[in-house]
């Protein structure tokens, strides 16, 4: 941070992000706190938030004034639903206040949410998605009237073909895990078509692959073998060899894994699976590190998926809508979900006459507006830009890694010390010394205006884990700030662990209590009506 420090030191002012010495100045952050009641508690009988078009007199003179006459007697609603009754401004104000108590990545630093690739999502994409030419399309319109939408799908398909090296693409999946399930279903149909399904009932994955790479094949009815990392951070080849057999339907593996470690033997693993007659699939959730650097096809993979809401900039949107883009070879393509978009050189078509297709994994053909964003993002970057994205993402990560490893109490597991896009660190040393582990760290770090840090998926193979991922859209200033918040919390842990334990202090709500409700049927309440019944709140 040589340059930044010098520059800031020369012009330190009250509003500067750095102090007079050029060191990062942590913000005196205060979250919005509206003390906002539940909307169900704000109801005023008779108030209206919006009026509904009413049937015209001519309509009523034709069909009558009683709509209930068309409803079979036993199916008429007797009691109106107990929804809140509020005027429009009161409803709007309520939800705007709650939006202010939500730390979206546009406002804060989502370096914290590792494995999620929280990058900036360009606003111009949102404008395009809101256009009636996108928002007001019905997926069952005649294809002649959907040529723009189909062109978006087709052009993005071609981009993913280039990035993956694979032949065909399906954009139906509503999230990364959905693409993983698509793969399990496609592989199931592939082996079934060859009469080998009864024999091939096992999928292999690794512990540091996303949980969906284990859960999706299990849902599809396969047994799942999970390989554990050795001292290097990835499974030894002997373990892979022992797992692969004539029962192997396929492997589903992330690379680089959620540790940021790239498995250099990946093509040898693929070869082993192929020799046994299995299908090799790579979950490219961490593709942000390898765009234009390494392709799934070149390591021998038959299939892969990309998360358009991660690598390709579509916003996460409070967890969807999203897209898990599934790519595969021509050999697997006949089994893809229908419809598949095709192009005859002049016109785009929706082809659902594909007899070997698995059928559908989703109604219609995907979150087209998410694909629109991904296409626009790629077009704004071009081939050099895509490569730059990855190079800066790994540069950012390696810079942040150096800063964080300078902090007393932060360690990085495994003999393999090189990392690409993210790092799974450990706070075990800090925990041993001070009692402050990853959860306490998490709840204190947020007081400095950064999002809560992602720990790890379960189980915690790395003890007291945390996993930041500084994508290419973060500045050097952002990286230094994040590192300083981590350093500050670790310092506080050594000086006053009790203070850290009682955090957070600057949030919309006080410290949560009563967490036994999370497992207690007598008290948990997923809805207000359940809460009222279980906790004796009068109507």
């Amino acid at each position: 941070m040589v340059d930044m420090k010098k520059t800031a030191a020369q012009s330190s002012a009250a509003g500067s992000p750095r102090d007079a010495k050029g060191d990062v100045k942590l913000r005196d952050y205060r979250s919005a706190h509206w003390d906002e009641p539940l909307i169900m508690e704000m109801s005023v009988p008779g108030e209206r938030g919006v009026l509904i078009p009413l049937a015209e007199p001519e309509v009523e003179s034709s069909v009558g004034i009683d709509a209930d006459a068309f409803i079979p007697e036993g199916m008429r609603r007797a009691e109106p639903p107990a929804l809140p009754e509020l005027s429009q401004h009161q409803v709007l104000r309520h939800y705007l206040r709650l939006s202010q108590q939500t730390m979206g990545m546009d406002l804060a630093s989502d370096i914290s949410e590792g494995t999620c690739t929280m990058k900036y999502s360009p606003k111009v994409h949102d404008e395009l998605c809101r256009s009636p030419q996108m928002a007001e399309l019905h997926p069952l319109q005649d294809e002649e009237t959907l040529q723009g939408a189909l062109q978006i799908i087709w052009e993005f398909r071609n981009i993913l073909r280039a990035i993956s090296g694979l032949d065909e693409v399906s954009l139906h999946g509503g999230g990364g895990a959905h693409a993983a399930f698509t793969n399990a279903a496609v592989v199931r149909a592939y082996h079934q078509s060859r009469g080998e399904l009864a024999q091939r009932d096992e999928f292999i994955t690794t512990m540091f692959s996303h949980p969906c790479d284990a859960a999706a094949p299990a849902t599809a009815g396969f047994k799942v073998i999970t390989l554990m990392p050795d001292h290097m951070g990835y499974p030894p080849m002997e373990q892979v060899k022992a797992a692969v057999s004539e029962r192997t339907a396929g492997i589903m593996i992330t690379n680089p894994e959620d540790t940021g470690i790239y498995n250099p033997h990946i093509d040898e693993i693929v070869d082993l699976v192929h020799e046994a007659g299995g299908i090799a699939y790579t979950d490219q959730a961490n593709a942000n590190s390898v765009l234009g650097i390494a392709r799934a096809r070149d390591a021998g993979f038959d299939a892969c998926h990309f998360n358009l809401h991660k690598t390709f900039s579509s916003p996460h949107a409070c967890a969807g809508p999203a897209t898990g883009a599934y790519c595969c070879t021509d050999e697997l393509a006949p089994f893809l979900p229908v419809p598949v978009v095709t192009f005859d050189g002049e016109t785009y078509h929706l082809d659902d006459d594909r007899p070997q297709s698995i059928g559908k994994v989703r109604e219609f053909y995907g979150n087209v507006q998410v694909v629109l964003r991904a296409l626009a993002w790629c077009l704004s970057l071009g081939p050099r830009g895509l490569r730059e994205v990855s190079e800066i993402a790994v540069l950012n990560n390696n810079y942040l890694m150096k800063k964080l490893l300078e902090i007393d109490g932060v360690t990085m597991p495994y003999e393999e010390q090189r990392r690409l896009d993210q790092v799974r660190f450990s706070l075990q040393e800090l925990k041993d010394d001070t009692g402050i582990g990853c959860h306490e760290f998490q709840e204190r770090q947020i007081d400095f205006g950064v999002q809560s840090v992602w720990t790890s998926h379960h189980p915690f193979v790395v003890p007291e884990p945390f996993t930041p991922e500084p994508c290419e859209t973060y500045s050097l200033e952002d990286l230094d700030y994040w590192a300083e918040t981590a350093a500050r919390v670790c310092r506080e842990a050594r000086e006053d662990p009790e203070y850290v334990r009682k955090a957070p202090y600057n949030q919309p709500i006080a410290k949560m209590t009563g967490l036994e409700a999370l497992e207690d049927h007598e008290t948990w309440a997923m809805t207000w009506r359940a809460y009222k019944r279980k906790h004796g709140v009068p109507d």
């Binding site: 008429r76 406002l107 949102d126 284990a214 800066i392 790994v394 379960h458």
Partner: protein, 469 residues
């Protein structure tokens, strides 16, 4: 680094001086040195064969608008398409909230940092619970088809049985999704999906066929109400009774827009309800507006325990009277137990929970009542107007909501021919049913909502009359 100077507005550290300083700090000469772990044989050489870059935002916008202009939207045409996603009015206040940067750009922040989002989701679940008369609601996931399949699998785990019954009139799209999820017979934990016939005159479930097919091996009976073909299933309670007599779960798929006027799944005895929130204030976006939900009884913890979706509960804080919201029974999901969890869960349809929460609050009970009434009146007005055209017939009687089947067989025209003629008049005709429901001949599924005025419906009738003449 790339050879040419390249500073991109989305990539702050692409400034050469910054790059150099950072590389110096980590002791590398180039970012390519960081890629050492990737063996040379696996490296991609050269540049990807992809288009771009388009230099500026202005030019990018122009280019993308050019592509979008190739679409004809339901804003320009009067559309009568439904069949799984529907064009309802989206109040401006819904868009205002759903487009907030805080919500659009949020993901998986903790209970404190994203507390506002968690409260909205709790209020979403609470309002949906009121419409459905059910106490348990999971967070929204992909689409109605997916949650139908997951509900059937949930019932299979609850009962320890692997056979389910669904109506043969259900949405073909949803049926296909559910079948893929339920899996072929040879797979572990697969669920056999069997179709129950319908009464040809009314479109309702054939109860004799149901009684013939249900057994003590049946895990669930699923119905859609209103059905895919628009028919209101007047025997819902009886179907539930038959299911329960055999120890099966009763699952009701529902279009929540109907629940101001139609009886709720919970009050009909449903153990589980599923459906889609898209009609509640979410734009269709070519199928991108879908958001499936699963709701269930909470008088028995087995429902929450077997639901694969993420569940949140209200919890107290140190401050008297203050609420927080936290994920409950986290261990049972695929995030908790990987392949041993309940099916899988992941990023689904979060923003559509925000939008539909605002929508439900704006409408309130009176809004839902009036919405249902307007839809019924206008859709029946349209059906009667079409029925007055020689050769045009409305199938399944008058007990329908929002959608109805228009049979063109006796006109001698195909649905495709009529729809082509309608398009010339600025109308998207109803969805062609002839492929998935060949027994209905040349029939189309028409959808009429509160957005169609009497003039729109009169124009439709004139256009159809001319098209079949």
């Amino acid at each position: 680094m790339s050879d040419e100077f390249f500073v991109h507005p989305y990539i702050p550290n692409s400034v050469p001086a910054t790059k150099r300083a950072m590389l110096e700090e980590i002791g590398k000469e180039s970012a390519l040195d960081i890629y050492e772990p990737i063996p040379e044989r696996l490296r991609f050489k050269g540049l990807l064969d992809v288009p771009g870059p388009i230099h500026s935002e202005a030019e990018l916008k122009r280019h993308m608008e050019g592509i979008l202009a190739q679409n004809d939207s339901c804003a320009e045409y009067t559309s009568f398409l439904g069949a799984g996603t529907w064009r309802h009015f989206v109040p401006a206040a819904v868009d205002e909230v759903a487009n907030r940067a805080e919500f659009v750009s949020a993901y998986d922040g903790l209970y404190y940092t994203d507390m506002g989002k968690q409260q909205v989701k709790f209020e979403w679940a609470s309002q949906l619970g009121e419409l459905l008369d059910l106490e348990g609601v999971g967070l929204a996931f992909y689409d109605w088809g997916t949650v139908t399949g997951l509900s059937l699998r949930m019932a299979s785990r609850i009962t320890g049985r692997n056979h389910v019954l669904v109506p043969d009139t259900m949405s073909p799209e949803r049926l296909s999704v559910a079948r893929v999820l339920c899996g072929p017979d040879e797979m572990a934990a697969s669920v056999a999906v069997e179709l129950v016939g319908h009464d040809e005159a009314s479109g309702r479930l054939d109860l004799d066929d149901l009684r013939a097919k249900i057994s003590e091996e049946t895990a669930a009976v699923y119905i859609e109400n209103p059905g895919f073909l628009g028919v209101i299933e007047g025997q819902a309670e009886e179907v539930g009774r038959i299911a329960h007599e055999h120890g099966a779960q009763f699952i009701v798929g529902v279009d929540p827009v109907s629940l101001g006027v139609l009886r709720s799944p919970g009050s009909c005895g449903a153990d589980i309800a599923c459906g889609d929130v898209q009609p509640l204030g979410v734009h269709m976006s070519c199928g991108g507006g879908l958001g499936g939900f699963i709701a269930f009884r909470d008088d028995d913890p087995v429902y929450a325990a077997e639901c694969p979706l993420i569940l949140f509960t209200i919890v107290p804080t140190e401050k008297e009277g203050e609420f927080a919201f936290a994920e409950m029974m986290e261990e049972r999901t695929s995030y908790g137990l990987r392949d041993k969890g309940k099916d899988w869960v992941g990023t689904g349809a979060g923003l559509w929970m925000i939008a539909s929460a605002v929508y439900m609050s704006l409408l309130g009970p009176q809004g839902f009542r009036e919405l249902g009434e307007t839809i019924i009146k206008r859709s029946h007005y349209a059906a009667r107007a079409l029925a007055g055209i020689p050769g045009v017939r409305i199938r399944f009687g008058e007990a329908f909501f929002k959608e109805f089947v228009v049979d063109l067989d006796e006109t001698g025209k195909t649905v495709a021919e009529v729809n082509a003629a309608l398009r010339e008049r600025g109308i998207f005709g109803g969805h062609d049913l002839s492929r998935h429901f060949p027994e209905l001949g040349q029939s189309a599924l028409y959808c009429v909502t509160e957005l169609h005025t009497k003039d729109d419906l009169d124009a439709l009738a004139v256009a159809v009359r001319d098209a079949v003449a």
